[in-house]
Symmetry: C2
DNA sequence: CTGAAAGCGCTTACAG
DNA sequence: CTGAAAGCGCTTACAG
């Protein structure tokens, strides 16, 4: 284990100078700096995180977070993950200021960003509204040294450090593959209940789903796509009318929320276990319906990691100022059946 | 953030005394110690890991590991996980000495343990042979202050700190549940190819599988159980004779290794995609067969975590000497289909 | 451009 | 039983 101290001895300079050279701080003679760097390389020097963390206590890292979590149970686990990361990194000086909103509103997100900046946060985690005004604000934040990571939802034409969240196309593909397995070669008529055709992630899931059934499962056909607006009253009515119509589908694929309404309609129609229901939901209610086999299977996102990883990435970034290797950090989605519980 | 320094000031004692009191070291006046502890409690003191880690550099933690990994690709990811943990904890003074064996042999495991003890390791990670001699050795190790964690395979009547590995019963249940979904109500005759009826994990998977199909899927019946000894020549012959017999099963469930042999037999018989094949394997070969849809789905273990977690748990134990809360730390198993790749 | 020194939070020989 | 001091590896004002 080589330390800065050892390098300083070998190079015949002070530890301060080694620190400056290795961290590319300015005010070091270029020749000296190069010599130090080459010694460090030869000795395989790696900076010790414990020492670094201790020294960093003098300028703690304050992170701001904004989630549309009010009334949205999905974000409970996101916040849990974020708090877990906060307490894991608390020893390294990390703390988090969380602001919540009810639903997505550009103006309230902009306001929350202002508040956080006033509080002096040095980085922000955000589930952004898909709005150019937000994208511009993210750019401005970066230019004053406040990096932003988008979590759960992306905003591509902004200058966010990276995106942390689901690969919606892939999880749609998984849903298609699973539907194909369960159909087992029989003809199946499928209705897709999506959240909104204006939400990118929902559309990507649908694309992934289509791509698989087209190439692998020609026995499956999508007969209808409807929007629930993530509203369980709407999904209830939609499902009810589907189930009571004479061309009742064999399967429903829900890309988004509002799962409760559809489940209730299925139960009332006595169709639990008779109609295939695939979702991406995994809130408390959904677990109950999965257990009761109203939901056949679910392929949930990983909300915990969506809260945890941004904190970790921002902390790492604060140390070395290097952008994460991946522009999009995908959290995993796993097929979940009643026996997985 | 309260530090030892602050507590020392308030209590009017030195930082050394606070350290002794808080860590229950002896040689502290009981009254003084109690006063210090109560102050710490009031202030919500939590020991700072960075400071702790730095001080701990004076007595680094050397961990020994023994895996039967030679010629067993499964353990590649276990070792990868272990090395990842090693480099993550290197800053805290953790290093690992790995010994590998070919297959399970009591005498060679005992020899490896001796070697590690000679090297001065302070903790051991082991995939134990199911043998009383090993159990006794683990007890002895603990009595001389060397804790052992069993990984991947457990040895219950030993004094291991805890077990890190798969919940085989649960992953068998998941296989049963998935089989039920794919069968979709139709009668299916299933053959189980297990590794060995002498391996606990394999039997637990079978039990889990039975428990689900009995209670949920009466349309499924297990018509035969055969042992492959994890040998692909044997599994090839077994699968071949099953596929060519006139009561060819509809599905094969493999609890263990030797997946390659069965896949080859299925391909040769032109039965890929026609016979359901469920496995728990996820080595490179298996991924190929999953992609080719020879394997219908797999529910692999999480080898990476089986290597990663024991290191983390032993490090934590070295700090506070407290046994992990759970006697068995289960790693997750996830349903994997071609679209998951 | 560089060094000496102090400090982050903890532990531990050493002295008393 | 307790304190003063040194040290783990790093950073950073301060002085020159």
């Amino acid at each position: 284990m080589t330390s800065i101290k050892k390098i300083a001895e070998i190079a015949g300079v002070s530890r301060g100078t080694v620190d400056r050279a290795l961290n590319n701080r300015d005010g070091v003679n270029e020749d000296v700096a190069n010599r130090i760097r080459s010694i460090a390389k030869d000795l395989g020097y790696k900076t010790n995180r414990a020492g670094l963390a201790l020294a960093a206590r003098k300028h703690p890292l304050k992170i701001g977070a904004i989630f549309p979590s009010e009334g949205n149970p999905y974000f409970e686990d996101v916040i849990l993950g974020m708090r877990a990361a906060e307490s894991e990194y608390a020893d390294f000086g990390v703390s988090i200021s969380l602001k919540t909103t009810k639903g997505f509103s550009t103006s309230s997100q902009l306001k929350m960003i202002d508040t956080l900046v006033d509080e002096g946060v040095q980085a922000i985690i955000l589930s952004p509204v898909n709005d150019l005004a937000i994208a511009r604000r993210i750019k401005d934040l970066l230019s004053v040294g406040i990096p932003v990571i988008t979590a759960n939802t992306d905003l591509e034409k902004s200058d966010r450090l990276c995106y942390v969240g689901t690969d919606y196309f892939k999880s749609g593909k998984m849903a298609g593959g699973l539907m194909g397995l369960i159909a087992a070669g029989r003809k199946k008529r499928i209705v897709i209940l999506t959240g909104s055709i204006h939400v990118l992630g929902h559309n990507q899931s649908i694309s992934g789903f289509y791509s698989v059934i087209k190439s692998e499962y020609p026995n499956l056909s999508v007969v209808d796509v409807e929007e629930t607006q993530d509203n369980s009253d709407i999904s209830y009515e939609l499902a009810k009318s589907l189930l009571t119509s004479k061309d009742c589908p064999d399967a429903i694929y829900m890309t988004a929320g509002a799962v409760y309404g559809a489940c209730r309609a299925i139960e009332e129609a006595g169709m639990a276990g008779k109609i295939i229901l695939l979702t991406h939901d995994y809130t408390g209610e959904s677990k109950v319906f999965l257990e009761k086999r109203v939901i056949t299977a679910s392929i949930p996102q990983d909300p915990f990691q969506q809260g945890y990883l941004p904190v970790k990435l921002l902390y790492d970034y604060s140390l070395d100022k290097e952008k994460p290797k991946n522009d999009r950090v995908y959290t995993n989605s796993y097929i979940t059946i009643p026996e997985s519980l």
